[in-house]
Amino acid sequence: MRPPLNIVIVGGGTAGWMTAAAFASVLGQQKCRIRLIESSEIGIVGVGEATLPHIRFFNKRIGIDERELMARTQATFKLGIEFVDWARLGDSYFHPFGAYGSRMAGVPFHNYWLRQQQAGDTTLLEDYSLPIVASRMNKFALPSEDPAAVLSTFGYAFQFDASLYAAYLRGFSEQRGVQRTDGKIVDVKLRGTDGWIESVKLEDGSMITGDLFIDCSGFRGLLIEQALKTGYDEWTKWLPCDRAAAVPCENASPLTPYTRATAREAGWQWRIPLQHRTGNGYVYSSGFISDDEVASKLLSRLDGKALADPRFLRFTAGRRRKTWNRNCVAIGLAGGFLEPLESTSIHLIQVAITTLIDYLTDTPASAEAPFDPRTVDAFNRWIEMEYDRVRDFLILHYHATERDDAPIWNYCRTMDIPDSLKHKMELFRHRARVVTYKDGLFLEPSWLAVYFGQRVIPQGYDPLADAADGAALARKMQQVREQIQTAAVRMTGHEDFLRSYCPAIKPAMTGARA
């Protein structure tokens, strides 16, 4: 068995503290000694304040109490994302955390719906999705464990204040033995023989050594890029947005149990309601609009009074060529950037952390090179696959549009897309079949939501759906709609639910807004 692994985490944002919390909790002090270096002078980006349902597995694995987490981070519930104005101006669709109807005779439900549409049925696909119907009513309930219940057909995630989340995880981590060092890194020392990171030097002259360095320093990639020159694959030609402006504003009632993403003249705008305020931001391509224009547009499109001046961020869509290079693993923005359109930032952090924990071995491969290159390669392949699958899904939102009212949409509508996505779209357009995969994000309902929402309308459907008796099918579908309607009506209003479940607790240390 190896002596405790000395892990040095560089950067204390969401990625840094999630990593610290998970390692401390899952592997413990016998297996690793964790030091996190952050500088209180450097602000954190506070990526993505909206999450995906998978975060609940993460919380469970590391032992975080969900209610407490929500109360400490001003959190609200999230049942999905509303996309406004994406395929056409005036459109609105939901990407829900849940399925549409359920399979019948092994055939995905949407094929039956398409069959009925062709026969003149006018119901909407979203009528068969409980999380969408509930979202439109601003209702919420916890899902049921009983697979037969209609209340088991959805999942949920959180919308929270990312800086409070980092602060909460910091407390959690420190209780579990994580050492925090406040300091600014001024130099990274590489080993002469093989270029592995030996230590980092702080402003006060102290040197911190480690076995494994986790780079959570954000876009700049202090270790992975500035020191190790790992390289970056850019995806700007498919995902042209390269900047964002963020601003919080006062809440407008009611608090929606969903995030909203509205397509704009040079990108899109997010709206994330929290208990104490609403987070907003405009993600845009600097080639199509100026910062000043973005600021004024954003400020004019808020629910309530702005609570700060807009903050600007710059980024490049893409992925680090190797997430794990030598003895450095890049997690969070240091590892890659995909715009928060589908709230994947925190999820990709989570994937990198849990995969790293899964892959780390008990004994070092050798004294000089403690990490087996076979493990490192496997880890990198996994992360690549995760990024690539999310990438295709994001591109779909931009590409499948009919909008021709702004240059960015003309560009995206006509751009060349990856072959993997081209094939997926063609198959869907032809016969409503979704290409699915075992690993990686976004299952069939997600693809369905975005295809239909973006007006990728199938010409046909699975001919197996024709086997069902028409009258019985119509009755069954009506029953599903009614069950969903009834269940949604019986749910509690989202705000009321929050008030009784997880009313916000003022944090002891009020961190600066991210």
Binding site: D358, W382, H430, P463, D466
Partner: protein
């Protein structure tokens, strides 16, 4: 838009009939016309086959009743494959169709075995698997769901008399209303675009169709050649008297230039030899077979094959299934499984019209992954773990591994992790059986697993082992169980 209303299946083996019955059932509602050009079983077939558990799903889908099927095909149950001599004379291991132990918290049981082996303690998966223990004792009972999770911890495949099975399926198909035309294909009539319009038989009759399913290899198209990894290219088989107490397992035994098999049936024991003609000629191969089964009769070379697969299984309006799609030695018993996947995928992607091509693209993508993963699992028997010495065996270990398999074995070698990707038929537990069996030991284990298993000792597993021993011992003898099944009155059969 022209609808696909007529499917013509060319072939007379089990795959052709299974395809016919399945397509007919799936598209009865649209009156799909299914015709089988029955070219006979062909010379390229062995006298028996062993199958994966997935055949049961297929049978239940097409209305095959198990007692009748067992009776008609002289079948027995298969709980495992036993591989003898693959790591040198005296070695053996089992790949059972069932769980290895029960999860220890978040750790799969096999991680415990890996830890024990890394620590130098001799232990294996078999005593912790009900399927393996029953196979060892020659006992069998179907899995049951109940209070004891172990009784549902396994599944089973079959050993089947091939000629009887084909005849049984043929009858089943004809009863279901599938048209059958006996004859051999003389020529193919294709349009200018290369789409098949009809097949002309030697009798002069032309059978027209919109979609053709090729189970015989009608056309030569580009192939992926796998012979660098899997050089065996011949199969011989024979029939020996039945065993007095046939175990519910398939046996394969490494030979000088390939491997022999033994498959227990109720009325006979089928034996065979898969070998590489570059190292042994047919006479010597038959002599080898005779030496391992002295009482065998009807020894003959039945198949010449070339390991590999078609690049595109679905080309224009023709879909290749079974041996027309994939040529792979039957080590893993996955031939019918692969055909079933092909049939199921064809049904899921049944073309909406005669012109569309996107279904074929998707079909080829998915089926290529399936085929390659079966290839990898087969190669792993030769390449993972301790190696058998010998000239033939050395040649199987020369070519660099296919990428995915290399990745899989690399990761396992580094930390004992088994990653299973999209469209792989064999699951984590199957790989665990194989890798533990061939003693492909990782150098270390995941840190997390070591933590989880920290306080777990072999002594604590004793109750599990004795419980399994007792459960297996209480099962009926395999042959008695089969006899009882076939004498049970069949339901809903004519």
């Amino acid at each position: 838009m022209s609808r696909v209303d007529r499917v013509v299946i060319v072939g007379g083996d089990a795959v052709a009939w299974l395809a016919g019955i399945s397509l007919h059932r799936a598209f009865r509602h649209r009156g799909l016309d299914v015709a089988v050009v029955d070219t006979g079983r062909g010379k390229n077939t062995t006298n028996a086959r062993w199958t994966l558990p997935s055949l049961r799903g297929m049978h239940s889908l097409i209305g095959v009743q198990e007692p009748e099927f067992l009776r008609r095909t002289g079948a027995t149950f298969k709980l495992a494959s036993e591989h003898i001599g693959w790591q040198g004379d005296g070695s053996r291991f089992l790949h059972a169709h069932g769980d290895i132990g029960t999860a220890i918290g978040a750790a799969p049981f096999y991680k415990f075995l890996l830890r024990e082996q890394i620590a130098g303690r001799r232990t294996g998966p078999e005593p912790y698997s009900l399927a393996a223990e029953a196979a060892r004792l020659g006992r069998f009972a179907r899995p049951m769901t109940g209070a004891d999770e172990l009784t549902s911890s396994f599944t089973y495949g079959f050993h089947i008399d091939e000629a009887a099975y084909v005849e049984y399926l043929r009858e089943h198909a004809i009863r279901a209303g599938i048209r059958s035309v006996a004859g051999a294909v003389a020529s193919i009539d294709a349009s200018e675009t290369g789409r098949i319009r009809s097949v002309r038989l030697e009798s002069g009759d032309a059978i027209e169709g919109d979609l053709f399913v090729d189970c015989v290899g009608l056309s030569e198209t580009e192939r992926d050649d796998w012979s660098a990894w899997l050089p065996c290219d011949r199969m011989a088989c024979a029939s020996a008297p039945p065993l007095a107490n046939p175990p519910p397992l398939t046996q394969t035994t490494a030979s000088e230039a390939g491997w022999t098999w033994r498959v227990p049936l109720t009325a006979a024991t089928a034996v065979g030899h898969v070998y590489c003609s570059a190292f042994v000629d047919d006479d010597a191969a038959l002599a080898k077979l005779a030496s391992v089964a002295p009482e065998a009769r009807d020894l003959r070379v039945v198949a010449r094959f070339h390991s590999g697969r078609r690049r595109r299984f679905w080309e224009r309006n023709c879909v290749a299934l079974g041996q027309a799609a994939l040529e792979l030695e039957p080590l893993a018993g996955a031939d019918l499984h692969f055909a079933q996947l092909g049939i199921a995928t064809l049904i899921e992607l049944f073309p909406l019209d005669g012109q569309s091509t996107v279904e074929g693209v998707e079909y080829n993508r998915v089926m290529a992954e399936h085929a390659d993963s079966l290839r990898d699992f087969t190669i792993a028997h030769y390449r993972a773990g301790a190696a058998r010495p010998g000239e033939f065996w050395n040649t199987t270990r020369v070519a660099p591994l296919p990428e995915n398999l290399a990745h899989k074995l690399d990761l396992f070698g580094a930390n004992g992790r088994i990653d299973v990707r999209d469209h792989e038929s064999f699951e984590e537990v199957d790989w665990a059986w194989l890798l533990l069996g061939v003693r492909d030991m990782p150098s270390t284990l995941e840190m997390q697993m070591t933590s989880l298993l920290e306080s777990v000792t072999a002594e604590q597993m004793e109750p599990l082992r004795t419980h399994i021993e007792r459960l297996a011992g209480s099962m009926p003898r395999h042959l008695e169980y089969v006899r009882h099944q076939v004498s049970a009155p069949g339901r809903g059969t004519s």
